[in-house]
Amino acid sequence: MTKQKKRSMTLYEGLVFFLLSCCLSVYSLVHHAQAEVVWKQSPYLFPLLVSFFLLPLSLSVIKQGLGECGQTKEQFQGRTTLVMICSVALYIVFMGYLGFIVSTSIFIMFTIRYLGEKRWVVSISLALLFPLVLYWLFATLLHVMLP
């Protein structure tokens, strides 16, 4: 990660929080006006307070982003992480269609192999046994109706 990149990320973070603070203030003021209640009872009093709290903090992050320097190289497995995030998203989506046991077996098999497990016996046995044991545990013992 380069010096320039790091600085700009912190700066962008600060800008996002600044925008969030402004949006929250506007949201609270507009909705309070529509609610027609006094401030002391308004449900938008506390959100407004939080937006005021967030404002100087966002400015502090912006200031820090502007003045940040130094080079840090961090280990980051970007591709592996992205594949993991996508596979979890697909797992959640397909759980509704395929059911818990099938979708979990496919998910475990794929991710274990993708993350580098070479032994087929371990991959297959975990992919089959783990969902079955969990299903039995949750459905029978904890009375949770899984998809």
Binding site: W39, V50, L142
Partner: protein
């Protein structure tokens, strides 16, 4: 006396003891395996124990908490990777001892002094909880608001490298806590027409996402390499030699209890402070500190386990959690319809007894499981992350679903997991967010109640802040906010 009898009735209840054992057994692995954490396990347990009796849920969670905090030391000693943040200091002397072939001795000291630390912490909880509750009965709504704000400010300052990032995390948590139907006026806030959000953000998927799924992603994104496990060979240690550190360990335990009671400080700060004290107090250790001094392990392990009892004190008496795990335990009470606070011990004495009994029984299981596992834990530590992390992900999904039997909670868990992952990557601590999410509703209602009450008085500011307790709390909040950056620079200098 009645309290003691209540605690003993739980401690001799077979079902209760078995549940503590189950939790302790799980805690041993969760704490020891790097990549899994006690907060992650307790967050998952909240979802699993959702439909259980509160005392059963507490028994299991206390077992995980007590043994999980200790077992972080096992991986710290054997592979130089702390299983839990509070065991970071243990690596300094534990791993050099393991390299010298004294892993068993290092683990034995960690076991015995974690046990002593836990017991002293729970004795302090037993003795101090009632007096603090009596004091808290005098609190007004503004005092509660300021106390929660003080908690968030200290958590923000102690859990982050940058004070502003810790506070931003807390502010985001407050923002999330406001989503849903407002408890005072019954108005829907920030739901943006999404019906599932009307009941608010469910704490369970948020917890599982922020502490579970985000930790899985962080582990994957950093490295999938596993540590080299040191050999463990049993060497006899005399009881006399073992207990030589006993008297000084009480001082480390006192440090742990005090730091644990401060919102947000927790085990890592306690073990570090105790270690600094050990270096100051023990002038001539047999081996220098940092090269395998047994005194270093004693200080670190006694203090971080004494923190558990300390962290329970503000949670039970004031409703303000001392660390991430107690914030999760607070959510256990919330999901079971209980509200910890000054009246909690009087109105729900059974829960108070269950927590202390769970902690004490858990500490004996720590001793038992610790010694049984000491020689075999190497096998567990060699379970590769590539196998473990997908299984934990499945547990996160099923755990968030189980809370309400709805897929929307799984989606929430996924989104909070991504948020937590990005926060960790960008050095925003997740603990202040979860603390704010738990405390936000209470802060909102107390703040509005305080303003409403004060508005009928002649002098608004005097009505709001005129009482001595309120003034002290206000000064504490202002002091923490003003010196936040200094607190950090002190911490950094110590590191």
């Amino acid at each position: 006396m009645a309290d003691l009898m209540g605690i003993l009735s739980f401690a001799f209840d077979i079902k209760f003891v078995l549940l503590v054992f189950a939790g302790s057994f799980a805690g041993l692995f969760v704490g020891a395996i790097p990549g899994l954490s006690v907060s992650m396990a307790t967050a998952l347990l909240v979802s699993i124990t959702y439909s259980w009796q509160t005392t059963d849920a507490l028994a299991t969670i206390m077992g995980v908490y007590v043994v999980g905090v200790f077992s972080g030391a096992l991986s710290a000693i054997l592979i130089n990777i702390p299983g839990a943040p509070s065991s970071v200091v243990t690596t300094l002397d534990g791993y050099p001892m393991a390299k010298r072939g004294e892993a068993y001795k290092a683990m034995s000291y960690a076991i015995v002094y974690s046990f002593i630390g836990t017991l002293v912490g729970f004795v302090a909880l037993f003795l101090l909880a009632k007096p603090i509750s009596s004091l808290a009965l005098k609190f007004t709504p503004m005092d509660y608001f300021l106390l929660a704000l003080f908690g968030l400010a200290t958590v923000g300052s102690l859990t982050s490298k940058q004070f502003s990032k810790g506070l931003i995390s807390a502010a985001l948590g407050l923002l999330f806590s406001m989503i849903g139907i407002d408890s005072v006026m019954g108005t829907a806030r920030m739901t943006f027409g999404i019906r599932n959000l009307q009941a608010g953000i469910n704490i369970v998927p948020a917890l599982v996402g922020l502490f579970g799924f985000s930790e899985v992603l962080s582990s994957i994104s950093s490295s999938l390499e596993d540590g080299q496990v040191s050999n463990v060979s049993k060497t006899p240690i005399s009881m006399r030699e073992m207990l030589r550190q006993g008297p000084i360990s009480l001082w480390y335990a006192a440090i742990g209890i005090f730091v644990g009671a401060l919102p947000g400080a927790g085990g890592p700060v306690a073990s570090f402070l105790a270690y600094s004290q050990a270096k100051r107090l023990v002038k001539n250790p047999a081996v220098p500190f940092g090269e395998g001094a047994i005194e270093g392990i004693v200080a670190s392990e006694t203090a971080n386990n004494a923190c558990i009892g300390g962290a329970m004190i503000p949670m039970l008496t004031l409703g303000i959690p001392g660390d991430a795990v107690t914030a999760i335990i607070l959510s256990v009470f919330y999901v079971h319809g209980l509200r910890p606070g000054p009246m909690f011990i009087q109105t729900s004495g059974e829960m108070f007894h269950a927590i202390i009994a769970g902690g004490v029984v858990g500490s004996f299981f720590l001793l038992l499981l610790g010694y049984l596992a000491a020689q075999r834990i190497g096998t567990v530590l060699s379970i590769p992350k590539r196998v473990l992390l997908p299984l934990v992900t499945v547990l996160c999904v099923i755990g968030s679903f189980a809370a309400n039997n709805r897929m929307f909670d799984v989606l929430l868990m996924f989104l909070f997991g991504l948020l937590g992952f990005f926060m960790r990557r960008r050095s925003y601590p997740v603990a202040p967010m979860i603390l704010a999410l738990v405390l936000g509703g209470m802060m909102d209602s107390n703040f509005r109640r305080a303003v409403s009450l004060a508005s009928s008085e002649d002098h608004l500011l005097i009505a709001l802040f005129g009482r001595p307790i309120t003034l002290i709390l206000l000064l504490l909040v202002l002091f923490t906010l003003a010196t936040g950056s200094n607190i950090f620079s002190l911490k950094r200098n110590r590191s």
